[in-house]
Assembly symmetry: C2
Homo-oligomer: 408 residues x 2
């Protein structure tokens, strides 16, 4: 390979930029001449919105800043490539731009949809005898890519969630009120509960942990939930619950959409989606009279690089580097997967895997890791997740806030 | 003084526990024999819920942990002492407990309401020739205590807000969408806009900052707001707005309560308070068709000790120490105030001030620091706030999350 391009796609993570670092550094090590970045993913690429990464990353200080910069440095997109049959001109345009710029390696950092893009492009290249190689670099806070042990971005989100919930638990316990206070924390993850499950990490010697965890993998029963809170309220003063934004009832309807069985309508007559924590807090307040509070961790879950996991950052760098190494050895149509060694100490081996087995497949939290009786996570999950949040990379502060690297 | 007691009251902050450290360390330095803590403030004190701080703080490691522990280590309360005339028995009980335990110094860490407690108790002591002294130690994220330059707790909240908004701005700018995305961030402060104003700190060389800031000090005009967003949407793709939870319209009604002029009602027929960010996001989505997102920074603003300001921690320690020093010199009925030197370099002098001038007085953001034309903060505010967020005290991590000190 002589000239390569890297892009970012889908929802950002706290470490998505570390994978650019991995791609860039490995390319330089291998003597690759040019490393381009596509601005706003494949969508920007189609507009030939391309930058030369040397303009930013030739400076080692900027590499250190990029590792500490949240969100997609290059800009991201949610563009899904249409099938060949429907839009041959799109494929032709992509390869024309690649050829025009003499680019022979294409690296795409993303989740499920982005791996579909890599699959389509590598299939097209094979069918049409194109020389370019296409590689997928895993990234998603949702941790729902198949085959790989976990996904870069998840560990940092899990660390942020665990840290924030520990702080929320302390805060919620601060008043010695006679009436218990119920705090419901809403965590991202529309279909898979990996992020919400990470709330279990708040429990340790100095923290009692959350009182219950509700994942989208298990149908949510509002009546049982109210009973659970009523029981907890007889036992303790501070109750903290973690719920996934994606919890659904037995009929498959999102709790955030149903309220207490009726559709909510705002002042304009539009259906109002409050978020399920707010919905559940309203239900609890109304049915039990307890004091409630709803907290949505929101986009900070995916962008709080100031408390990113060092393990996650290093792994995000590694998956980028391994993709470049593989492509340089002629591989294409593959994604880097992480395989955990079955040894006592946590160790990851990096492999390449056929993208056809990965694209569009969603991995959920195994049912056997969820204790449905007590709404808790079982030990195998804790064993799985704990190594992923370890270590810190202290931000570079200027005048009291972390500094980031930003495109000009 | 031979035996003293310290309590915490009102909403917690990220550094409220550092003031306990200041009280404890200065007391030990002065040879004071016992430092008690009241559990759950004056409310717990009335139940004689008292602990010996030696049980925790004789160990220096625990002192370091306490500086890094969010929320009120001793527990807090929102109990407001009734006037003498109405409840003499309460005052008699308090002094009986003090006398029984031979306590001659009473230190109360809190905001406006808590300073009222100090005032009432010191007045009662004087009128009844009691020997005990009563001192107020300022604490509030709201920064609304009068006389003092600022309040411990504010700097750390401001640092969390600035850091989080920088991350939110990066996240919001990540997509190269054709349609602008409007992100509305709701910040605490029911009557004073100090915290929301701190959103201005997000702007620096690497961050464009927020596009507008709305404080409760200035009447909020929904039509003007919609027009402002419409104009911004013609100029840029990512729009981030900071609003105080306490913004009110010209008639003095909270925006979060009025929605678009009508009261919102939830599925149970109860008036629903969504938070003003959600209300404004719904209005913008409905009136402009733009994509919107509402984020409430919630209680993390006051409890995110993992990114507390070192300046704030040190000042919180100092106000505790100065209170003990003053009381040891016979002072009573006073609060520690911070006076900023009019020199080039930031420097704080600590003074004692008559509590009667402080209790129940609310300080707002000066109008001349607010640019109402562009909804921005002016330079004098930035000059005021910047030193308060400087410095960090790195958390003590175990297995990837910060460790706290917790009462047994």
């Amino acid at each position: 390979m002589k000239r390569i391009i890297v892009g970012q796609s889908g929802g950002p993570t706290a470490v998505i930029n570390s994978s650019i670092v991995g791609v860039y550094q490995k390319a330089k090590e291998l003597g690759i001449e040019k490393v381009y970045g596509m601005v706003y993913g494949i969508e920007g690429f189609l507009d030939e919105n391309i930058i030369d990464l040397d303009d930013y990353l030739a400076d080692d200080n900027n590499i250190e800043l990029l590792k500490r910069t949240p969100s997609a440095f290059l800009g991201s997109c949610r563009y899904k490539l249409p099938p060949f049959a429907e839009a041959k001109e799109v494929y032709k345009k992509i390869f024309k731009i690649l050829e025009k710029n003499d680019i022979d390696g294409f690296f795409y950092i993303g989740g499920n949809d982005s791996m579909d893009t890599v699959k389509m492009l590598s299939d097209y290249a094979k069918e049409n005898n194109k020389k370019q190689v296409f590689m997928g670099i895993p990234k998603t806070i949702d941790n729902d890519l198949s085959i790989t042990d976990h996904c870069p971005g998840y560990g940092s989100a899990a660390k942020y969630i665990a840290t924030s919930i520990k702080e929320i638990i302390r805060d919620n316990a601060s008043f010695g009120v006679k009436k218990p206070t119920v705090c419901i924390v809403e965590i991202m993850g529309r279909h898979a509960g990996w992020l919400t499950a990470a709330a279990a990490l708040a429990k340790d010697d100095t923290c009692e942990g959350v009182d219950a965890i509700y994942l989208p993998e298990i149908p949510f029963d509002i009546d049982k939930f109210v009973k659970k809170i009523e029981k907890l309220a007889t036992e303790k003063k501070s109750i903290v619950i973690a719920v996934s934004e994606g919890i659904v009832n037995k009929d498959g309807n999102f709790i955030c959409e149903i309220g207490a069985g009726e559709k909510k309508v705002d002042a304009f007559g539009h259906k109002q989606l409050s978020g399920c924590a707010k919905t559940l807090a309203d239900i609890i307040a109304s049915k039990t009279g307890l004091k409630t509070r709803a907290i949505e961790l929101s986009t900070l879950q995916r962008s709080a690089t100031h408390i990113a996991s060092l393990t996650d950052i290093e792994e995000a760098i590694n998956v980028g580097a391994v993709a470049v190494e593989g492509a340089n050895n002629g591989k294409t149509g593959m994604m880097v997967v992480m395989e955990r060694e079955k040894t006592k100490n946590y160790k990851i081996n990096y492999q390449l895997y056929d993208i056809h087995s990965i694209a569009n497949v969603e991995r959920k939290v195994p049912r056997e890791w969820i204790c449905t009786k007590h709404n808790k996570m079982k030990d195998p999950f804790l064993k799985y997740v704990t190594p992923l949040i370890k270590g810190e990379l202290i931000p570079i502060y200027k005048d009291g806030t972390p500094v980031h690297l930003v495109r000009k």
